[in-house]
Amino acid sequence: MRNIYACFKWVIDEADIRIEGKSADFTRARWKIGDYDLNAIEAANQVKESLPGSEAIGLTVGDADAKASLKDALSRGLDAVWHINTGESKIEDHRTSSQALAAVLKQNANAALVICAEGSQDLFGRQTAPRIAAALNWPVVTSVAELSIQGSVLEATRKLEGCIEKVNVELPAVVSVLPSINAPEYPKLKAIMEAKKKPIFEVEISELELKDAQGLHSQDEGYVMNRKNIVIKEGSTEEKVAQLVESLKKDGVL
């Protein structure tokens, strides 16, 4: 079997976070599948179309609340999803989540390709794809702007800082895709109905026997922006401009 896996993460919509002073209020925040991860899911759907007999399968590591993402992911075209349930266990960092994803891929032993987004919407660490590849000892390509499978080879176009690079990659492989790779559509009602019948697999993270990941400490605070917030709106255009120029000169930046 040659299946295509898409990794997606259940994240807080950052637009709903309220920052007051240095503390953050998440209570009103909605959760969703990360926007970029929708690109990864769509990329998996598209590659699957070109590989008769293959399935597109979702993978997510998250606590019990992340269950809410599974039907949504399935309604976006995936054939099945795996939920690696972190339960009450504290996930330290990328080491754990990447190892967990790799462990399930190894168990299933049927992946041709694993697709991640370049970075998750919340932490944006841009680490997961290469870490999964290292854990499985598969090749990895990041910053992918186009991809297709030809026979047993993945053809990918990477967008780097200074160049566009075309690469051929042996399968199985792991890639991370840029948001520009496709434009996912909202799921149609029919797809939402169909999603209800698709399989959901669950595994507890504690069953995966992952290597220890300790020694990392972190603390979060709201980012405080200190700007003068002077609004210049009274008077004619020339008056407003004069006021702006005068202020900038006074600040010594013009």
Binding site: R158, R227, T237
Partner: protein
């Protein structure tokens, strides 16, 4: 004193990283991969160069070798410039070593017990301070650091004949992206074009403002990526450039957090926007409410006075 390895593509970045490592009392070991040592590495002022020599010039393909090297030499940390290749190599090595990694670290400190730094999360809404005990990896962007060592040729070179490079990824072709030839990092004034600029002809007046103020024109992501009016290297933000100009002037820029992240270090932030409720108004020192079509020419005239 221990060995801290670093990979950087840009010369300035190399010298910034060397400063970061040497200031912490450690030895800076510059990494390079491929047929030759690039000038940016040669002139980095590092204590030594470790050159993995082979025909393959994609640093990413050396992840396994580099991981082994880091273990063998008891390295206490490895730092990578946050470019597409640098990030991939960093995270791949972190994966092989099951090591903690800090992405786009600011305020990075190298202490005996390990690395500590800050990085933003949730698109820039929050700041995370992290520290690790033992070996760790970090990626950095030059915009967050000031001190650099002067240009100096590195004398000590360790040459490693690299075998066992990952050949499973074959580069078929490389097409250079035409560089804009503008050094945004050096510009004291940044005039930023947002999607509120409705006509491409109007960029001329922004250029004129830049010339008059001794600055350069940059843009938001959509102006580069969607409209294609600028090269991608000229957009500012979390997925683009991080800049610290004296003055940032956003023209027709709404000020979404992912964009503003790139100019947090600006001394002064100003905006021209028709909408008083645009988020940029709250993140500016001065927000001039008006239509850029009228304001920009008036501003140019005022600057010329």
């Amino acid at each position: 004193m221990s060995k801290i390895y670093f990979y950087a593509e840009d010369e300035k970045h190399s010298r910034i990283t060397t400063a970061l490592i040497q200031d912490s009392g450690n030895l800076a070991c510059a990494l390079c991969f491929g047929k030759e040592i690039p000038a940016s590495v040669k002139n980095s002022g590092a204590n030594m160069i470790v050159w993995f020599e082979a025909d393959d010039d994609s640093p990413e393909h050396y992840a396994k070798l580099l991981s082994e090297r880091l273990v063998e030499t008891n390295a206490t940390a490895a730092l990578f410039e946050s470019t597409a290749r640098g990030r991939e190599l960093a995270a791949h090595v972190a994966g092989f070593l099951n090591a903690p990694m800090f992405s786009d670290a600011s305020k990075l400190e190298i202490k005996t017990e390990g690395l500590s730094c800050e990085h933003t999360i949730y698109g820039g809404m929050m700041l995370r301070s992290s520290s690790a005990e033992g070996f760790a990896i970090a990626t950095t962007q030059a915009g967050f650091y000031e001190r650099e060592v002067p240009k100096k040729e590195v004398e000590e070179i360790e040459r490693i004949k690299a075998t066992e490079i990952d050949t499973r990824v074959q580069v078929i072709s490389r097409e250079d992206i035409v560089k804009a030839g503008v050094d945004l990092a050096a510009a004291p004034v940044i005039i930023c074009a947002g999607l509120g600029i409705s006509d491409i002809e109007d960029l001329a007046i922004l250029e004129a403002l830049a010339v008059e103020s001794g600055g350069a024109v940059a843009c938001t992501r959509g102006v580069a990526e969607d409209r294609g009016w600028f090269a991608a290297e000229l957009y500012i933000g979390i997925s683009g450039k991080i800049l610290n100009p004296d003055l940032y002037l956003g023209v027709g820029v709404s000020g979404q957090i992912q964009h503003m992240y790139g100019i947090r270090g600006a001394k002064t932030v100003a905006a021209i926007n028709t909408d008083e409720c645009a988020p940029i108004v709250k993140s500016s020192d001065y927000a001039l409410i008006g239509d850029y079509k009228e304001v920009a020419p008036a501003l140019l005239a005022a600057l010329k006075k």
